[in-house]
């Protein structure tokens, strides 16, 4: 099976709508800002989401490996992993793509260009990407804890070195 051509033809619109849905997971005041501000450094979260979603969608269309999708997934999940989201909310943005796909394909299905099976197939491919999001989330949380432990160790590292150092006989 193959993904319907319309999903490639309408790539910019699909990515934009997915972006819009992901941004809506933030509080309304924040979402407004994320959509409006275009400067990548004045709006780092918006930029990270844009880059990540674009890369994910393009890779997903082409059927690339998880390894190739990883950096784009990391761009988004690393951020959501430390924001005010539950783990489900943090990774669940992937599922929002299903909503966008449904919106795109339903009219095509009604016209008979595309079948329900095609939509199901597309959904199953999204599921695979969803699983990758979990893996990335777990890795990010591990790195977060490791970084914290390292910082604590660093605080006393130099003191240990000093204590353990041999002093020359006087």
């Amino acid at each position: 099976m193959k993904l319907p051509q319309v999903l490639t033809d309408r790539k910019p619109e699909i990515i934009a709508r997915w972006f819009h849905l992901v941004v809506s997971t933030y509080p309304p005041d924040t979402a407004k800002f994320l959509l409006q501000e275009k400067d990548p450094f004045a709006n780092p979260v918006g930029q990270a989401l844009r880059e990540g979603l674009e890369g994910l969608y393009e890779g997903w269309l082409k059927g690339v490996s998880e390894k190739e999708l990883y950096p784009y997934m990391d761009r988004i999940v690393r951020l959501r992993a430390v924001q005010d989201f539950s783990p489900g909310e943090a990774v669940g943005f992937v599922l929002l793509l299903k909503e966008v796909l449904r919106q795109e394909l339903e009219p095509e299905i009604k016209k008979g260009h595309v079948s329900w099976e095609d939509l199901e197939y597309a959904y199953s491919l999204v599921d695979k990407v969803q699983l990758l999001a979990f893996d990335v989330y777990a890795k990010c949380r591990e790195e977060l804890y490791e970084a914290r432990v390292k910082e604590i160790k660093n605080r006393v590292q130099k003191l240990w070195e000093r204590v353990n150092k041999e002093k020359p006989a006087k």
Binding site: A147, R148, R162
Partner: protein, 546 residues
């Protein structure tokens, strides 16, 4: 065909406005996003009220019976005492220019971190109890009642502001949210609601001399350790003195530079520099802390801690004070010290003994920043530098909030960097100099228990570093703040692995060609120099390991 459930339903996305407005949305104290409560002992040492065991996670914060009265009275006193507070609370027109400028808002996506809303947390109480329209019209004019939930909210949000003042840059009225945060924290302090990290450090500084709580003999020992390391690397034994009466200059560095990694390499840089130019200086085991966590506690504590510097300068009979690469230290000195602990009429207007330069900007405080001092030395050609020793480093500079935005210090550190390294790249314009993004761990937030919160706050800065890391291969983030040196390594570990953190004087130490030194084979960190030994692959300069 069964109905395919909509993802928004799973995700609970609500396109309609939230059911509860900001005033009614209570705070959830999730682990990783707040600071532990101060232990009773720390409060007792400083004579602060209501010492007791408590935790923000618990329902009952064990506030005094008359907590509401205390708070309102405290607010009333501060409104009368500080014209700025009254002005800031009255004058905001909610234009929103500040809203998207705060690094905590950008990183967390939490609207209450918009500076305008952060100030509203306090302003809404002010309006209700101190303005006539507020008393009559209540919610209609944004007034609300002071409840225990509000107190909890203040604790959560006033310790999510690093007092970096980026917001005030954009405010058409110049409202300084940092001052609102400071006073908000003071009000919480009246109830004894302080985080441990700030108050324990302030208590240590008060009782022992520095935030870390290292006693004079141990302080001296750590400095000897630095001296040993310098000797290993350069073959020269530098000789710092302690508490020496009659020295020309008293040098005060942040304690983080004496004990922690990577600050300690910056400290080595200072010692090497002073030795090389033959500076007549002394360290002090009494005034062993440049920093001042009193700034993050209250006016009174800030004043008490800062008094040490002038007291010691007077006792030792020095001419003026040279200060190290510390961030908030310079905010205190530049903005408060003069009227707070001054005038320092027992000190002289600083003149560099090496170049003769008069530091007229320090005429009143009698304190000079080491970057000014060193930049002046380089300008007069007094230092022999070999920047090729830093060739393995591709450097960018992080403007630390307090020296740059608060003190106006942009060029001197860059001047030094351009002379000690050959690969230097700036981060994007709107993230540096007066627009600099805070590290996310300032103002006493750099504890490890709120690590997640710090990662949020530091994201805008890290994002800019990531950009230059990817574009130019930047592997070193230089800065002139000890809290930055303590906090940025972790930030880089999470967001931009491969970028190390260093003070400007560490790089200077690497590049400094000292009279009578042996051939250098390593950097101050013990990493082999180019062509002098085996390198363990490209990651070497980027490691933040001790």
């Amino acid at each position: 065909m069964s109905r395919i459930s909509k993802p928004e339903e799973l995700m609970k996305i609500n396109y309609r406005p939230p059911k509860t407005g900001w005033m009614d949305t209570p705070v959830e104290f999730r682990r990783g996003t707040w600071l532990y409560a101060a232990k009773p002992k720390s409060l007792e040492v400083l004579g602060l009220p209501n010492p007791r065991e408590w935790s923000p996670e618990e329902e009952d914060w064990k506030l005094p019976e008359n907590w509401k009265e205390i708070l309102l009275q405290g607010l009333k006193e501060r409104l009368e005492r500080f014209r700025s507070l009254k002005l800031f609370l009255d004058i905001c027109v909610r234009c929103g220019a500040c809203a998207d400028k705060c690094h905590f808002f950008l990183g967390s996506g939490d609207p209450k971190n918009m500076p305008v809303l952060r100030a509203e947390l306090l302003r809404s109480i002010y309006r209700r109890d101190f303005t006539t329209t507020g008393k009559i019209l209540g919610r209609l004019v944004g007034a609300r009642e002071l409840t225990v939930e509000v107190v909890k909210e203040w604790y959560y949000y006033f310790y999510q502001c690093t007092e970096c003042r980026r917001c005030s840059l954009y405010c058409p009225f110049g409202i300084d949210t940092a001052e609102i945060t400071m006073l908000g924290r003071e009000l919480l302090g009246l109830l004894g609601c302080y985080p441990d990290w700030t108050v324990a450090s302030a208590a240590n500084c008060y009782r022992i001399g520095n935030h870390v709580g290292i006693e004079p003999h141990a302080f001296r020992d750590m400095v000897e350790f630095c001296v040993d390391e310098i000797e290993n690397i350069t073959g020269i034994r530098v000789e710092p003195t302690f508490n020496r009466k009659g020295a020309e200059i008293l040098f005060i560095a942040p304690s983080g530079d004496v004990f922690a990694d990577p600050g300690i390499y910056t400290f080595m840089g200072y010692l090497m520099l002073f030795h090389e130019i033959g500076l007549d200086y002394t360290l002090s085991t009494y005034a062993s802390e440049g920093g001042n966590f009193g700034l993050f506690t209250s006016h009174e504590v800030m004043k008490r801690l800062n008094a040490k510097m002038y007291a010691e300068a007077k006792r030792l009979g020095v001419k003026w004070i040279l200060g190290g690469e510390c961030g908030h230290m310079w905010r205190v000195i530049h903005q408060y010290m003069d009227t707070m602990n001054g005038p320092a009429d027992f000190l002289e207007e600083p003149v560099s003994p090496i170049t003769g330069t008069k530091f007229e900007n320090a005429k009143s405080t009698k304190m000079v920043h080491i970057c000014e001092f060193t930049a002046d030395l380089i300008r007069h050609g007094k230092l022999n530098l070999d920047p090729s020793r830093n060739d393995h480093l591709i450097v960018t500079f992080h403007d630390s909030c307090n020296p740059s935005r608060a003190m106006g210090f942009f060029e001197e550190p860059r001047y030094i960097l351009r002379h000690v390294c050959r690969n230097f790249y700036e981060m994007p314009e709107n993230t540096i100099k007066e627009n600099t993004f805070c590290c996310g761990s300032g103002a006493g937030l750099n504890a490890d228990e709120n690590f997640e919160m710090r990662m949020r706050g530091g994201f805008p800065r890290a994002n800019a570093v990531r950009y230059v890391h990817q574009k130019y291969g930047v592997n070193l983030l230089a800065c002139i703040c000890a809290i930055d040196r303590a906090a940025l390594p972790a930030l880089m570990d999470y967001w931009v692995p491969g970028v190390a953190v260093a003070g400007v004087h560490e790089l200077l130490g690497n590049a400094l060609v000292m009279k009578g030194e042996k051939e250098r084979t390593t950097t101050l960190r013990g990493e082999p120099l180019e062509g002098k030994g085996e390198r363990e692959g490209e990651m070497e300069p980027g490691r933040n390991d001790a």
